[in-house]
Amino acid sequence: MKKLINDPADVVSEALLGIEAAHPELTVDHSNKLILRGDAPVAGKVGLISGGGSGHEPLHGGFVGLGMLDAACAGEVFTSPVPDQMLAATKAVDSGAGVLHIVKNYTGDVMNFEMAAELAAAEAGVDVVSVVTDDDVAVQDSLYTAGRRGVGVTVILEKIAGAAAEQGRTLTEVADVAKVVNANGRSMGMALTSCTVPAAGKPTFELGEGEMEIGIGIHGEPGRRRVPLAPAKDIAEMLVEPIAADLPFSSGDGVIAFVNGMGGTPLIELYLMYNEVARILGGHGIQIARSLVGSYITSLEMAGCSVTLVKVTDDLIALWDAPVNTPALRWGV
């Protein structure tokens, strides 16, 4: 596998150096592997932090800035950060208004954030509320597993909750908005190829030339099933129908429709997929209020895509439209 790296052990720290160089408006704490808003803590504002394993860029560091996150903690590739990092981020962004932890539902992430929240309360007296995203409908039988994984909804939630915090809403109010987004969002992804963790040097799993994996996670975890490659219109149905049936999304509902690339799929294919998704939603009478198309929560160089739908109210749409100024999402500024 060919990669643009120096030493596999230095991938995360050298990428952080690049982020610092490219975005002087952000602050990078190299010892704790944190990306922070340059103006953190913002007086009177609830702080938002997230984090997770690296390899999903632009999630989460690319979403630090006005109207979104105050800080992001970078773990090793596909490995949760440790509580020390989250604790340092929590202290750095707390203005006294409290801090929201946005956590994707993976066993390691949840436990490390839990310990960080306990330490933040005990050591620093910071008010922390955690919201866990778990939108991946590909995980069935969630009673018998670690539960549904947090995937595409995380991006939408960080944007909307970030806008709510920027408006000056309280920690409880911001957390409530975040919970509404998660409760009304569903996702499903698929892979055309595997991905290679730099330290491992070989693909996480094998996928034949004529095969695809439906219901893939963002770390190369297996999906619902492995099937022969199909045309985009059929793949769109395999993703959208289980999502629509799950919430369920009904005729007349307004949604944010998000077609996400897994890292190795060109935008032209994502727009082609978006067209198929829009056609299927139209068939169900589901109204697309807003859209997002691009690679925002990735799995290194994996080819494939995911679809996320979030049912929205007027309040959520106004928060979505509010100004945002981050490396990866920027509008209204």
Partner: protein, 212 residues
């Protein structure tokens, strides 16, 4: 008081565990590759190497509580994933249960292990049969309690605990994973030994060598 568990013995237990983890690093990682994300051996070895470095520092722990706090906090800060919080919580709870002492009787040590096990349950919400480290540790702690209650000494108790941990580890092979990343595999997790139960069995084995 030949059966006393001393600070030196506890420290030897931790060092012995670090050595066993290093020795079995590749096996732990290979087991994790089959049903997880192929880093359990690498992460645990990084963590226990950091623990050894912390124990070799100038600030030598003066009590069991201080020793295990250092071990637990170092693991939490250096391992990541789920193993860091789980092993970290285990040692932090063991330390709290031991208290500021430099020697324990066997019952006190067994109680501390029980507290650590309860910490793992509180952190990970695992139950028997979920295919996790609990499946090796819980039978081990039960076996030690039982041996001590029926008049066996510490050595016999730890030896029974190690046998029980090994059996518990082996029993994870046919189990269907219900916790952690392996749970996403569903039926495909059956037939693989759990890496967390495997490293937990090493922890008990190290106790036999250092304290038994």
């Amino acid at each position: 008081m030949t059966d006393a568990v001393t600070l030196a013995g506890l420290s030897a237990w931790i060092r012995g565990f670090a050595a066993l983890v290093a020795e079995n690093k590749e096996e732990l990682t290979a087991l994790d590759a089959a049903i997880g994300d192929a880093d359990h051996g690498i992460n645990m070895d990084r963590g226990m190497t950091a623990v050894l470095a912390a124990l070799d520092g100038d600030d030598i722990p003066s009590s069991a509580a201080a020793l295990f706090k250092k071990v637990g906090m170092t693991l939490v800060s250096s391992v990541g994933g789920a193993s860091g919080p789980l092993y970290g919580t285990f040692f932090l709870r063991v330390g709290t249960a031991c208290g500021d002492v430099d020697s324990l009787d066997p019952e006190g040590f067994a109680k501390a292990l029980r507290a650590g096990l309860e910490g793992i349950v509180a952190r990970g919400k695992a139950e028997a049969g979920d295919k996790t480290m609990y499946d090796a540790l819980a039978p081990a702690v039960d076996a030690l309690d039982q041996a001590l209650a029926t008049g066996g000494g510490l050595a016999a108790g730890l030896s029974a605990a190690a046998t029980a941990a090994g059996q518990g580890r082996d029993a994870t092979t046919p189990m269907l994973a219900r916790k952690g990343r392996a749970s996403y595999l569903g039926e495909r997790s059956v037939g693989h030994q759990d890496p967390g139960a495997t490293s937990s069995a090493l922890l008990i084995r190290a106790a036999v060598a250092a304290l038994g």
